[in-house]
C-alpha cells in the first residue's frame, strides 16, 4: 500500500532537517502506527504521504504510484482525519458530512449510520459549535471515512479525549481493520499503539529507530521485572529484580527460603520503557 524509502524533509522556512532517512512500508489490511513524542515528525510524515507538503527527497510510493504523480482523484481513495477537528461550526453534524461528502464520487455511505457508529445520531441536527471536543473529534473521524476509502490516515485520533470518547474511536478503528482497511495512525500514547497497531515504528527527532509489532518489541527489548514484598525482622520490605535473573539471584533465594513472602508481582516492560531504552527519550 505504502512504501517509503530514504525520506528526508526540511521545511522551507526552517534550517533543521525534520525527517532523516525514513524507511518503512505499510501492508494492505494492517494498522500501522508512528509512536513518538510531540515534534518527532509524525504529522510531517503523514502530510508528505497525503500530498500536502512538497519538496521531500526520497521515495514515497502509494497505491502503486509515486506520490508526485498522483492528481486530485487520489483523494477518492484515501481518508484523512487531522489531529484538529476541522469542521463548519455553524452547520449541523449531518450538514457537515453531507457537504464534504458531496465532493466524492462514492455516495453510497449512509450518513445516519455513520453518525450512529460514533454515537452522534441524536446530535445530528445540532450545530457543531455547541459540541464538546470529544464529539467534534468523533465527527472529524467519521468525516474521514465518508467515501469508504481503503486507506485511512489518522493523526493522533484519541489525543485530548476522555476515556469514553477514546474508546468509541478505538473500537471504530478496530472495526475498520476488521473490514480490511489499511490504517496509518500517529500517537504519543503507548496504550493506543499497543491496543491498535499491528506494527509500530518508534520515531524521535525525525529518525525511525525500530519497527515491529508491540508484542515483539516488548519481548525483545523489554526487561520484565519481579517485585517481591516480604517480612523480615518484623518489618515489611520489597525487592525488585529482573525476571531473567531470578533463578541465579542468591538474595532472592535467601528471602524465599527464610522470610514470609507477602506478594510476588511480575511487571512487564511497557512500550514506553522500550521507547526510552531505544531512543533515550520519554514520550511526553
Amino acid at each position: 500500500m505504502i512504501l517509503v524509502e530514504k525520506l528526508d524533509f526540511t521545511y522551507h522556512n526552517g534550517q533543521k532537517e525534520v525527517l532523516s532517512g525514513l524507511d518503512f512500508h505499510i501492508e494492505k489490511g494492517e494498522v500501522f502506527g508512528f509512536l513518538g513524542p510531540s515534534g518527532a515528525g509524525k504529522t510531517t510524515t503523514q502530510r508528505i504521504i497525503i500530498g500536502l507538503l512538497r519538496g521531500y527527497s526520497g521515495k514515497v510510493k502509494i497505491l502503486g504510484k509515486e506520490r508526485r504523480e498522483w492528481k486530485k482523484d487520489f483523494y477518492e481513495r484515501i481518508g484523512v482525519a487531522f489531529d484538529f477537528p476541522n469542521l463548519y461550526t455553524k452547520l449541523s453534524a449531518s450538514e457537515n458530512l453531507k457537504l464534504i461528502g458531496s465532493y466524492y464520487r462514492n455516495q453510497e455511505q449512509n450518513i445516519e449510520e455513520l453518525l450512529d457508529h460514533v454515537g452522534l445520531l441524536k446530535d445530528k441536527d445540532k450545530k457543531v459549535e455547541g459540541f464538546s471536543k470529544g464529539m467534534k473529534m468523533r465527527l472529524n473521524f467519521v468525516r474521514s471515512i465518508l467515501h469508504n476509502p481503503d486507506l485511512i490516515f489518522l493523526d493522533e485520533p484519541t489525543t485530548g479525549l476522555d476515556p469514553v470518547n477514546a474508546k468509541i474511536i478505538k473500537d471504530k478503528i478496530l472495526e475498520l481493520k476488521g473490514e480490511g482497511k489499511t490504517i496509518f495512525l500517529t500517537t504519543h500514547n503507548m496504550t493506543v499503539a499497543e491496543q491498535l497497531c499491528d506494527r509500530v515504528g518508534f520515531i524521535n527527532d525525525g529518525v525511525l529507530s525500530v519497527i515491529d509489532s508491540p508484542k515483539n518489541l516488548m519481548v525483545t527489548y523489554g526487561n520484565p521485572m519481579v517485585k517481591v514484598s516480604y517480612i523480615e525482622a518484623g518489618k515489611e520490605e520489597t525487592m525488585t529484580l529482573s525476571l531473567t535473573e531470578m533463578s541465579g539471584n542468591l538474595e532472592f533465594h535467601r528471602i524465599v527460603d527464610t522470610c514470609d513472602i507477602l506478594t510476588i508481582h511480575s511487571q512487564e516492560a511497557t512500550l514506553e520503557d522500550v521507547f526510552i531504552q531505544l531512543t533515550g527519550r520519554s514520550l511526553l
Binding site: 507538503l53 483523494y75 487531522f82 476541522n86 469542521l87 455553524k90 457537504l99
Partner: protein, 246 residues
Amino acid sequence: MIKESMKRIKNALIADLKFERKQGFFIIYLIISFLYLLVLTQIPENVRHIAVPLVIFSDPSVLGLFFIGGMLLLEKEQGILQSIVVTPLKSIEYVISKVASLSIIAVLAGLLISRLTYSESVNYIYLLMGILLTSFFFTQIGILIACRSRTINEFFLRMVPWMLALMAPAFLLIPFWDAAVLNLFPIVACLRLVYGAYHFNSIGMIAFQMIYMALLNGGLLIYTTKQFEERIVYGGQHGQIDPSQK
C-alpha cells in the same frame, strides 16, 4: 471528467451559499442594499442617474472584496480549508465556486437596486455582464489577498494598498471622462461597463471592455488557482494555524 467537475463545482457552490447564509452574509447584504435604496430614493433625479450605476458597481467590487476575505478567513480559522484540500475538489473548482457564489449575490442585489431606483430604460445584458465581470475580477483579487493573510484583521490591512492601487485610476475619469486608454485599468473598464448599461456607450467600446475583462479574468483565474495551491494546499499548515508563524 467535465461532468464530474461540474458536479463538484455545483456542490461547492451549494456549500458556499449555505456557509454565507449561516454566517449572516445575506442579512448584511440585504441591510446594505436597503440602506442604498433609502439614500438613492432621497436624492434628486439627475444625481440619481449617475449615482445608481456607481452604487451598483460598488456592490460586486468593494463589497465582493470584503465578503470574499471574510469568507476565506472564516474557513481558514475554522480549519475547513484543511479538510477541503484532502477531498477530490480541485483548487480551480474551489476558486470558481467562491467567485460564483458572491457573483450570484452581487447580481441579485444589483438587479434589485436597479429595478427599485431607476425608472428609465436599462440594458440588462450589459448590466449583467458588467456586474459579473466586475465581481469575477474583484473576488479573485480578494482570494489572492486572503491567501496571504492569517486573520481577518490582517486581511483588511493588506487590502488597503490593493484597494488604493486598483481604485485610484477611477479618479482619472474626472478630468479624462472619455479617454479610451483608461479602459486598460480594470476598474475603469468595469465601471464603464456598468455605466454603459444605463447610458449607452458605443458597441465597439463595450465589446472591447467585455473581451478585455474576460481575458483578464481568465488569466487571473490561472494565477489565483496557482497561488491558492502554493499558499493553502501546500502552505504547510498544521491544524488551524501554521505553528511556524505563531
